[in-house]
Symmetry: C2
Subunit: 228 residues, 2 copies
């Protein structure tokens, strides 16, 4: 059975994000996948990249460099326990699903903190092993999120521009950089402004997509996909 | 005298980011500006958007909606003190400078949390008052940051794509959305891979730019600037 990690960032289980997460757990489990959820708010996950992420001595205590220190700590097994736990989950997963409400054209800070802290050098990449040769190659990622604004705002020529513009840093800058292949995003536009009936249809559509997810081809994660 | 708020996110005062921040404080103060710094790591600024940001009762305690709750709390003066403090600083400022190391094609989570939590509806925007009519109009913003990768990586056709691609969510999606006009970014490429001498030149170039900053015209913050 395949392994899936859902990294989930919503404060409210009753939210549409909460329901989308639940639907994914149910549908993927039904398929025989083993599903793990990192419920970031429930875990009170720490988003700040600080000296506390390194257990014991520093490589250079004169001038703190987070990237260098976490790289060195990774190599000697001295990252903090919460990071080691998350890295284990990532290592085992065939697919990472990120489920969140869009905050300011990006993921909520608590999820950005997961990226900043978990994907350390040595674990997720190590020069020159980045992009297609990133250390997490052979994994898939999928960004599943809700928006405040409607679909027409996120169109080419809309006030907020093509939704693909804002996917570049997340899909290319993070996932592709680590070698992860990216499936098409799953976007629920403006759930707060539609009927209960339409929100139910959103959940059904997500469950439906998941049924054939493993047959999907990754996107071609290059500027053409985002900006052409 | 003009008022400047520097929102600063680096753990190490001796870092280039620390020096860039110091240079800005010195140069702008010399000009007669009044400069305030929000040193996010030193403040242990909370990046997580939670119920704790609302003092007292909730508008809807059955189903927590962060955007609605902070909007309602703003209107009745019931946001947490740290947010009220930051909003005061923003309100008074003519110019916001964001100083940070680029983490994963974006700002560090601690700074994303500042955006998520400080720029609440009612304070920074209120439909239909967004983009050119956002509530923070008549202010300027400038993103000043360092990168890990070199300039050639962040070129059109480079592995990381044009650096402007990743500025879209920050400059357009956040600042422009709130009505803030955006000055050209200030980017120090790969300071960790250049000589001490070149890092000094980076500081001099920043001080130099700040001397005539108030004469600069904002960029035309539309898709053409980013993706053409």
């Amino acid at each position: 059975g395949r392994k899936v990690l859902i990294v989930y960032a919503h404060q409210e289980p009753k939210s549409l994000n909460g329901s989308l997460k639940r639907v994914a757990v149910e549908e993927l489990s039904k398929q025989g996948c083993s599903v793990t959820v990192s419920d970031l708010y429930a875990m009170q996950f720490e988003p700040r990249a600080t000296r506390n992420d390194i257990v014991g001595f520093l490589h250079n205590s004169e001038e703190f460099n987070y990237g260098v220190e976490t790289w060195e700590a990774y190599k000697r097994g001295a990252l903090s326990n919460d990071l080691i736990e998350e890295q284990k989950k990532v290592q085992e997963a065939d697919l990472l699903i990120f489920q969140f409400p869009l905050y300011w054209f990006s993921m909520p800070a608590i999820m950005k903190g997961w990226m900043d802290r978990v994907l350390v050098q040595g674990f997720a990449f190590e020069f020159p092993n980045c992009y297609d040769s990133g250390l997490l190659k052979n994994k898939l990622a999928l960004f599943s999120f809700t928006t405040g604004g409607g679909k027409e705002m996120y169109a080419k020529g809309g006030t907020s521009g093509d939704i693909r513009y804002l996917l570049w840093p997340m899909q290319h800058g993070i996932m592709h950089f680590c070698g992860v292949k990216v499936l098409a995003p799953h976007i629920c536009f403006a759930p707060e402004y539609v009927s209960e009936e339409e929100r139910k249809e959103m959940l059904i559509a997500w469950a439906q997509r998941l049924k054939t997810l493993w047959k999907e081809e990754p996107i071609n994660c290059s500027p053409e996909w985002y900006f052409k």
